[in-house]
Point group: C3
Chain length 249, copies 3
């Protein structure tokens, strides 16, 4: 397919992202490299996992998703390739692919000789492997299948009567709080201790008054809490893990 997406915590100021792209283009000059994000929090693998989960299916099948959020670079964590739902994923085995794994996913440890640096695996291993996959190289030529790999569980809901106890799993750059409560549950409102009145569910962001908190069914399949024309995260001082209680209708 020639499409490679690229997610990292490298920031956009230095040459790291471009170095990886250049090495990819040396191997596959036809590669089409699409940035997902390079400003992930360096040590927040769960946020990276949630981000990948939300976007990988938006790309054509056959796409290679390169994702390097890798505080353990140089340690003994394995470099891996995952094949799942006709997508390829390349990166470290540290949980970054947790939310894409299913029972049919196949995971391979990368066996790759040309390691020249112990601190820049994206450039020296993950980028080149992604480039070869995008050219149609077979996984089996670059890795051997493994059965044990790191997988975080997606935070679970608790249900007591009409109350659903969930939490914030991602905060987007608008400050919207994305929860782990799926849109398929029929919520009527949220109860958040810092907010005096109930947070009502609306059909769209624009239905809230300026400065009003609203709940909406988010575009990624989970309820979000938003502050119309403002940042809900800032006003509530909410971080990932922040408790959220939904009330079924």
């Amino acid at each position: 397919m020639d499409i490679i997406t690229f997610t990292s915590d490298f920031g956009e100021q230095d040459w790291f992202v471009a170095a990886v792209k250049g090495e990819i283009l040396k191997i596959n000059p036809r590669a089409k490299i699409i940035d997902i994000s390079h400003t992930l929090s360096p040590f927040n693998i769960r946020a990276g996992a949630f981000l990948l989960k939300n976007v990988y299916r938006n790309f054509p099948e056959g796409t290679v998703h390169l994702a390097v959020v890798d505080p353990g670079v140089g340690s003994k964590r394995k470099p891996i390739i995952v094949f799942s739902e006709n997508y390829y994923f390349v990166g470290p085995d540290n949980g970054i692919f947790s939310y894409i794994y299913n029972s049919k996913s196949r995971v391979y440890e990368i066996i790759f000789k040309q390691i020249t640096s112990s601190t820049f695996h994206a450039r020296d291993i993950f980028g080149p492997v992604s480039a070869y996959l995008s050219k149609g190289e077979r996984i089996e030529k670059m890795g051997r299948e493994i059965k044990r790999y790191i997988k975080f569980e997606f935070p679970k809901l608790k249900k007591i009567g009409k109350k659903i106890y969930g939490e914030v799993v991602y905060i987007d750059s608008f400050g919207n709080l994305i929860t782990n409560i799926p849109n398929s549950l029929n919520l009527g409102s949220f109860k958040i201790s810092q907010i005096g009145k109930k947070v009502l569910i609306k059909d769209s962001y624009s239905e809230g008054k300026k400065g009003e908190f609203i709940g909406i069914k988010g575009s990624c399949g989970y309820y979000e809490i938003a502050l119309n024309q403002g940042s809900a995260a800032d006003l509530l001082n909410a971080k990932i893990g922040f408790s959220i209680t939904g009330e079924l209708t």
Copy 2:
């Protein structure tokens, strides 16, 4: 032409920009997607309109300009396609295309069935429509022409004697103040109340001394006020709409 530019207020941290690009590539794998900016102020449609006005002609004719600064997503504002000067524009009818409209522009309301989300029209409507246009699909297959649409007027100048009363229409990331006074007027200086002496017009940024305010004929066709090696906006605490008085020679 296969070229699609993409302007939004989505930020670069999350997966939103990439989700739109992925859906475009599903429809047109040959699309060449060029980012213009994704860090527009979410609710500043006029700044987005000015930005588009300044860059759309730098692209080859036939380019599709996708622009989504859309605080009203989910409300009743129409999704539109504009065809003007052999360029296509796709986005919400909220004024974002105000400064590209001329008497020959044609505007179409998008009629598009597959709406799956009420909060992410860029991914579900605007991106796919842009992809089809970039493949050569006819506008008439996706929209119906309309005659009424939202258009802001570009701020007007007032002229009294040798004085031109204008205002700041855009502040760039260097802090330069871009005015609505066209380079075609022959200004000798600016008068700004917070600055004791006249701000003289120079030929280039580098002619100012460090810390000196200068006026120059800007690359986008309007006079700018700059602080050599500094941010004029910060030092003057100037926002969009800030009053500027030019003095004709």
Copy 3:
């Protein structure tokens, strides 16, 4: 080759980067434009030079490296093309290419007629020249060779006994301090006055304890000083030029 990399201090908020890309695509619609960085400090040419030095060879030979960090735009600094090691470099003659020059590099002053703006040479000169080079146009048609150009020296080391006196040449966005001490020297530790104990050399970032300073052989060929899971630059208040003393084993 059709590959053009693009480095600038234009920021990512405005239309400047896209305007250059559009003009490139008008000339060479097949161009593949890869961003290196657009958030360089506007007036830090040495940091830009170090960044280029670290990444240009990661791209295939024939790549055109467009680099515009240009506080002197509009002044008398020359626009130049450099041909070195089968790469092309296009930008201002202000030292930005200092660290790629070698005895075989050839430097050409650009002779280019269509100058329409005195403040946006990237769009009006450097971008178009890069596009023509990427299409295979000969340098000699666009420039004339010159023998005098601006070249900063890379900061030199001082060696006294087992001590190596160096300095910080770049600070990356993680806050790692990149020094001018090459990996080829066999350092056992660093001595930094603000840090009580010796900073030991480790094999990778992840070997340091949280909050511990470590030295490592960096991926760009020089020793780096890092703070595990933190910013060494912030904690030491270190800028480019900060003194670093290495101790040979």
